[in-house]
């Protein structure tokens, strides 16, 4: 608030000033003093209002400073940190998917070797030694497949790690949201929930329950029905 700002309603002084000048003209000291106290009361009330306003502004400035400090910490440290965490999640999921596919790819030839062994056994007549050899081969291949299945199971442990990291980032997003909402409500006195809709051309990614809005297809059958309505 500027100190040179004129009082909003100077006419509130008019009544007591008029009473004072009437009392002066009539040389009535008692009436003059009572008009002067009325004048002082109006003035006191105005000063009080000003002080109250300055106090509120100071309070909101302090509050904003606190939120600013929190936001600065979030922006400088926590957000880059969260980005690195999410990059790590991407890496972990990518590695686990490739590891799983590598293992599955390796099982194909092992199964094929059993199949070929069985065919050879049938074609060559099942002699005792050939049977023994086939049995060893089957045990070997199945052992290989079994151990790879075990590794596939192990590769799924990424879910535990990524889950923990994602949950950490979620709590950061919560905190960021709270700080921004508080800041917005200090600035304009109401909550600023205006969210920019992503442009459709970019694509929006998979449907996330509770997040995605608008009309969404429920699966491939729905897509097919829609396309056939469009004449495809």
């Amino acid at each position: 608030m500027s100190m040179s700002e004129p009082p909003q309603d100077i006419h509130v002084y008019a009544d007591s000033l008029a009473a004072m000048s009437r009392a002066l003209a009539a040389r009535d000291e008692h009436a003059f003093r009572s008009a002067l106290s009325a004048f002082d009361a109006v003035r006191d009330a105005e000063v009080l209002t000003g002080v109250r306003r300055v106090t509120v502004e100071l309070q909101s400035a302090l509050q904003r400073f606190e939120i600013d400090a929190r936001l600065i910490d979030l922006a400088h440290h926590q957000v880059p940190d969260a980005r690195r965490r999410l990059e790590h999640v991407l890496r972990l999921t990518n590695d686990a998917a490739h590891r799983t596919m590598d293992l599955v790819d390796q099982c194909g030839p092992l199964a094929q070797r059993i199949e070929q062994g069985a065919e050879r056994l049938v074609a060559g007549g099942a002699s005792a030694s050939a049977l023994g050899q086939f049995r060893t081969q089957v045990a070997e291949c199945l052992g290989g497949i079994r151990s790879r299945l075990g590794d596939v199971r192990l590769a799924q442990s990424y879910q535990d790690l990524t889950g923990q990291i994602v949950r950490g980032v979620m709590s950061l997003v919560d905190e960021l949201e709270r700080a921004l909402i508080e800041l917005a409500s200090i600035v304009d006195g109401k909550d600023a929930a205006a969210r920019r809709e992503q442009t459709m051309g970019r694509g929006r990614g998979p449907v996330v329950p509770g997040v995605s809005h608008g009309e969404v297809v429920s699966g491939q059958q729905d897509v097919d029905a829609l396309l056939s309505d469009l004449g495809m």
């Binding site: 990518n94 998917a97 596919m101 694509g203 998979p206 491939q220």
Partner: protein, 132 residues
């Protein structure tokens, strides 16, 4: 059928795991010639310089998204008739309508099954053959 199996496929997706899944499925269906690209911007020069018979593309990719790639393909005289299958997690009805209007030949929603992918490719190829 043997002619079809020699078709050249271009698979465009920003996730290497998804490209690998689609490529493996195509290989299992007997399509051995599969090239990969990670977004529309890298796919387009490949399409223009190569001789591809089929394009399978994701929608949501950094750089050039799949819808823009589809539009560029349809706008290019030499590529205009290329069969394009959209393989995407984009599930809004308005998006599917937009892809159809842009000239997509098929739309498969992720997560998808091997059977769905085969069915849509077969359908597109047979309608191409009927039109030829």
């Amino acid at each position: 059928m043997s002619v079809q199996r020699s078709l050249n496929f271009l698979v465009v997706d920003d996730y290497s795991t998804m490209r690998r899944i689609v490529k493996n499925l195509l290989n299992e269906l007997g399509y051995a010639n599969v090239t990969e690209a990670d977004d529309g911007a890298t796919a387009l020069p490949l399409l223009r310089s190569g001789s591809f018979d089929f394009l399978i593309t994701d929608w949501n990719m950094p750089g050039m998204p799949g819808l823009e790639l589809l539009k560029q393909v349809r706008a290019d005289e030499r590529l205009a008739k290329l069969p394009v299958l959209m393989l995407t997690a984009e599930a809004k009805r308005e998006q599917i309508v937009e892809a159809a209007q842009a000239g997509v030949n098929g739309y498969v929603i992720k997560p998808f099954t091997a059977a769905t992918l085969k069915e849509k490719i077969d359908k597109i190829l047979s309608s191409q053959a009927a039109a030829a």
